[in-house]
């Protein structure tokens, strides 16, 4: 705990000093004290919790659908040689279209609505996830499959007992990547489309010229994603790799 948060103490101190010394104009840069005060106020007024829960709901709706679509689709494509051949280039291409770029057309289809935002988030999750699963399955060592086969496993058992566990790290990585894109897309969508949510809050503060609100939003976001990634996603990814003693893909700074 100390090791994770300790290093932030000097940073906060330096930040405080810079703000106090007014190295930057105070309407563009505020110190930790101001941010904390604003943070408290936003919580007291119930604004922050409300916005947070809005953002969260959108994110998790999208994530849920993304997983529900992406995982099965990923495995279906991965298991069929023809499906792979046909879809792999498409997957790559659609992954390449920045998820944000879908916003305009999605707005045309669904208007400025929750559906639009959810669609974009689902999109950001599905493609990295599928790509990750397909390459993950591809990388399951062939001799493991052969070993299972020679021990009498039918196609289904091979799938459940060899392929799925073997591809689990890839699933974890895909989710992690997808989520990384997902929440960013959410913020962008909220700025562009929304009437609530953290992204909206930050942009609204910016519009009013109140930099404190922007700082609060960024720090809250940073802490949340950092916590999610460091405490849940990364350990999950590492865990799936280490548990089965597979070759560790080195930690990627994401």
């Amino acid at each position: 705990m100390v090791r994770t948060f300790g290093p932030f103490v000097p940073v906060v101190l330096v930040w405080w000093v810079i703000a106090e010394a007014e190295v930057f104009p105070p309407d563009l840069f505020v110190g930790p004290g101001t941010v904390l005060a604003e943070f408290r106020e936003l919580i007291a007024k119930g604004i922050l919790p409300a916005y947070l829960s809005d953002s969260f709901t959108r994110l998790w709706t999208g994530v849920l659908f993304g997983l529900l679509i992406g995982i099965p689709a990923g495995f279906i494509v991965a298991m069929s040689r023809w499906a792979r051949r046909l879809t792999w280039p498409l997957l790559l291409f659609f992954q390449a279209i920045a998820d944000i770029a879908w916003l305009p057309i999605v707005i045309v289809w669904f208007g400025f609505s929750l559906t639009a935002v959810t669609f974009v988030i689902v999109y950001t999750i599905v493609f990295p996830l599928m790509i990750s699963i397909v390459s993950g399955v591809e990388e399951v060592p062939k001799d493991l499959v052969q070993a299972a086969r020679s021990l009498g496993a039918g196609r289904f058992r091979v799938f459940t007992d060899v392929i799925v566990p073997g591809a689990l790290p890839a699933v974890a990585t895909g989710i992690r990547t997808g989520l990384g894109y997902g929440w960013r897309a959410l913020i962008a969508a909220e700025i562009i489309v929304g009437t609530s949510g953290i992204g909206f809050m930050m942009f609204d503060a910016r519009r009013a010229g109140v930099v404190t609100g922007v700082f609060v939003g960024m720090i809250v976001l940073g802490i949340l994603w950092y916590a999610l990634d460091a405490l849940i996603l990364a350990p999950f990814e590492r865990g799936t790799i280490e548990r089965w003693g597979m070759v560790r893909t080195a930690e990627v700074g994401r």
């Binding site: 932030f8 390449a96 279209i97 920045a98 390459s135 894109y181 962008a188 922007v214 700082f215 700074g253």
Partner: protein
């Protein structure tokens, strides 16, 4: 590449052409198979639109898109927007690389510096890119600079963090070997740490550019009056889905080209050529 295994069976067997010839035909074969799904998609698209008779406003026919592209091209609009976006990405990424790589390697070379900065960097990577847009527009106003800042921001943190990790991952004995051969401290950075950290740096570049592109599009929607993001957002106001699709395809192609024609070969020429473990991102 999954799914695109031996294409020799797709080609007619018989005479064995020269090595060059075989390589060429293999690459053509691969290109062919890469294109097939898109052709299939295009055909499906055309057919579905025809059959369902959907409005052009909701979903354009493929011919509409081609026409829109033609119009944008002749009016010079296409190049203007694409050029603007490209320019911003290139600038942002270049500055990002030039600032992040030395900084990251420096951090990685010092035990206490890396321990100290790691959580902060990780936090910054977590936040990198889009989340900075409100702040960027506040500090730099709307316009070019804010957009480039976002791209820089996204690439900088991802690169620094990964470069730092990369240096830390260099086997101690490699550093010891270099020292015992008389490498001075400054030379260590260029001769040993930079190549040693290269796999991680390439990964960092991939991740950073991935966030950078997304940040770019979002920033262009919000903060400027030129560029691909801007043009598709403008098109949305007029329900010009055909223009939107031209924009989307362009964005997709640009990233694809960047990744496949730039990053992947970079990785091949260095990390793979040297047999170093390529980090899966």
């Amino acid at each position: 590449m999954p799914g695109l295994t031996s294409t020799e069976d797709a080609l007619s067997s018989g005479i064995r052409p020269s090595r060059r010839g075989r390589n060429l035909s293999r690459r053509l074969g691969a290109a062919f198979w890469f294109a097939v799904p898109f052709v299939a998609l295009a055909i499906t698209w055309a057919v579905v639109v025809e059959v369902t008779g959907v409005e052009a406003r909701t979903f354009p026919q493929i011919t509409d898109v081609v026409r829109a592209f033609g119009e944008m091209w002749t009016s010079g609009e296409y190049l203007r927007h694409t050029g603007a976006s490209l320019r911003r990405v290139v600038l942002g990424a270049l500055i990002g690389i030039l600032t992040a790589v030395p900084f990251g390697i420096l951090l990685g070379s010092s035990r206490w510096a890396s321990v100290f900065f790691a959580p902060l960097l990780r936090f910054s990577v977590a936040l990198a890119g889009i989340a900075w847009i409100p702040l960027a527009t506040l500090w730099l106003g709307f316009g070019e600079r804010a957009v480039i800042f976002i791209v820089w921001n996204a690439t900088f943190f991802a690169l620094t963090y990964n470069a730092m990790l990369g240096v830390q991952r260099i086997p101690t004995q490699l550093l010891q070997a270099a020292r015992s051969m008389g490498t001075s401290r400054p030379r260590m950075f260029v001769e040993v740490m930079l190549p040693g950290a290269l796999p991680s740096i390439v990964t960092g570049l991939r991740v950073g550019l991935g966030y950078g592109w997304r940040g770019l599009v979002a920033a262009e929607i919000i903060a400027t009056s030129a560029g691909l993001g801007y043009s598709i957002f403008l098109a949305q106001k007029f329900f010009r889905t055909d223009i939107i699709i031209v924009g989307m395809i362009t964005i997709g192609l640009l990233w694809l080209v960047t990744d496949r024609a730039l990053l992947a070969p970079l990785e091949r020429r260095t990390v793979e050529r040297w047999g170093m473990k390529a980090v899966i991102s």
